[in-house]
């Protein structure tokens, strides 16, 4: 597949959240604001990009039976790097994302891509796959975050455009489920119309 298709599939056709339904925990957990969704999306993209590269580089050195634990160590290492770096240089974002930063390691998107793609493709293709899927994930999270922030707080990226609170439900747990559910419905309707 050509590299542009490889890169862009992560955004719509094979979007991790809206089509593959992977990586749902952080999707619901950190999207009460658009900036949190974006921050988490970019952190995940970094881990996905780096782990795809490393897995693709060492794939022929790993005995088949220990490949999953090996991928996990690789992924967990990059997650720890993200943890430490964020704690040092972006402490506010670190506090906002909280528990979900170490949980990047169990984001099914990352392990899934390592197993399904990076272990079977060359370095360049794997890297671009990682970048595309990651940014597509970030896109989904930012979109959900924006919807919840606009409806729930009447602001976008921290800039308020109404006085007072919005529909508080959307920044609480039930709102996450509802907003995501309806976003998928809208996506489905768009797909119906374009096929």
């Amino acid at each position: 597949m050509n590299q542009w298709k490889n890169f862009s599939k992560g955004f719509i056709r094979e979007n991790a959240v809206f089509v593959l339904f992977l990586g749902l925990c952080p999707t619901l957990g950190v999207t009460s604001t658009a900036i949190n969704g974006l921050g988490m999306g970019l952190a995940t993209t970094f881990v996905l990009f780096m782990s795809n590269i490393v897995v693709s580089l060492i794939k022929s050195l790993i005995p088949n039976k220990v490949r999953i634990p090996t991928y996990i160590v690789v992924i967990a290492s990059f997650v720890t790097i993200v943890e430490l770096t964020m704690q040092a240089y972006l402490p506010t974002l670190f506090e906002q994302l909280g528990l979900f930063i170490p949980l990047i390691v169990v984001n099914c998107v990352i392990l899934g891509r390592a197993e399904a793609f990076a272990s079977k493709n060359n370095l360049l293709t794997s890297a671009i796959d990682g970048l595309g899927m990651g940014l597509g994930f970030a896109f989904a999270l930012t979109l959900l975050g924006a919807v919840r922030e606009i409806l729930g707080s009447g602001s976008l990226f921290g800039l308020k455009f109404i006085a007072g609170d919005g529909i508080l439900l959307f920044i609480l747990p039930p709102g996450a489920f509802l907003a995501l559910g309806y976003l998928i419905v809208i996506m489905n309707k768009i797909k119906e119309k374009t096929t």
Partner: protein, 190 residues
């Protein structure tokens, strides 16, 4: 009294799935039938309890004394991955039909953020050994509760007319949202 608060909080007030958003992937994937939901809950309960116990010992006797607390993520996930392998082996021998029924979901317990999440939370809350184990069991009960409730609803949903665009995952999320709203009612209990 402390323990009662831990239990009520983990099962109802801060339900691991409906309030903390952990364990969503199996929540959506396994909950279409009550029988698989029960099996998954049992397996998760087993792994979660032992994982909380082992990771506690790991943190207190190895990570903290040696000053390598930053290795928490790696070591915890490796412990969980090994435990899941163990459960797979045991289940295959002890109950092959259950092993077959759970299928792909069994290895997927490793990536169940609920287990890693609970292990890390037990450390963050600075529980002692017994409190951590109780916390693990309570969260497993909360997970099972949410899963089984949800699968019961989904079984009913499958027999009803749902608009095409909403079928499958979207309606599941919307129902989950309503269930989460119901659980919010527990908020003022303690």
């Amino acid at each position: 009294m402390e323990y009662v608060i831990i239990i009520i909080s983990a099962v109802f007030v801060n339900n691991i799935v409906l309030t903390r958003f952990l364990g969503i992937c199996p929540f959506i994937g396994v909950s279409s039938r009550v029988s698989t939901a029960l099996g998954m809950s049992g397996a998760v309960a087993f792994v979660m309890t032992i994982a909380t116990l082992v990771t506690y010992l790991l943190q207190v006797y190895i990570l903290n004394p040696f000053g390598i607390a930053f290795m928490q993520t790696i070591t915890f996930i490796l412990v969980i991955a090994s435990l899941v392998q163990l459960v797979e082996i045991i289940l295959k021998k002890v109950s092959p039909p259950l092993y077959q029924a759970l299928g792909i979901f069994l290895p997927l317990i490793t990536t169940n953020c609920a287990i890693l999440g609970v292990a890390i939370l037990a450390q963050q809350n600075e529980y002692n050994l017994l409190e951590s184990v109780v916390f693990g069991i309570a969260n497993a009960i909360g997970f099972g509760l949410a899963l089984i409730l949800f699968s019961g609803i989904r079984e009913h949903l499958s027999m009803v007319n749902v608009p095409k665009a909403m079928q499958g995952v979207p309606i599941a999320f919307i129902v989950a949202g309503l269930l989460a709203m119901a659980f919010m009612g527990f908020a003022g209990i303690v």
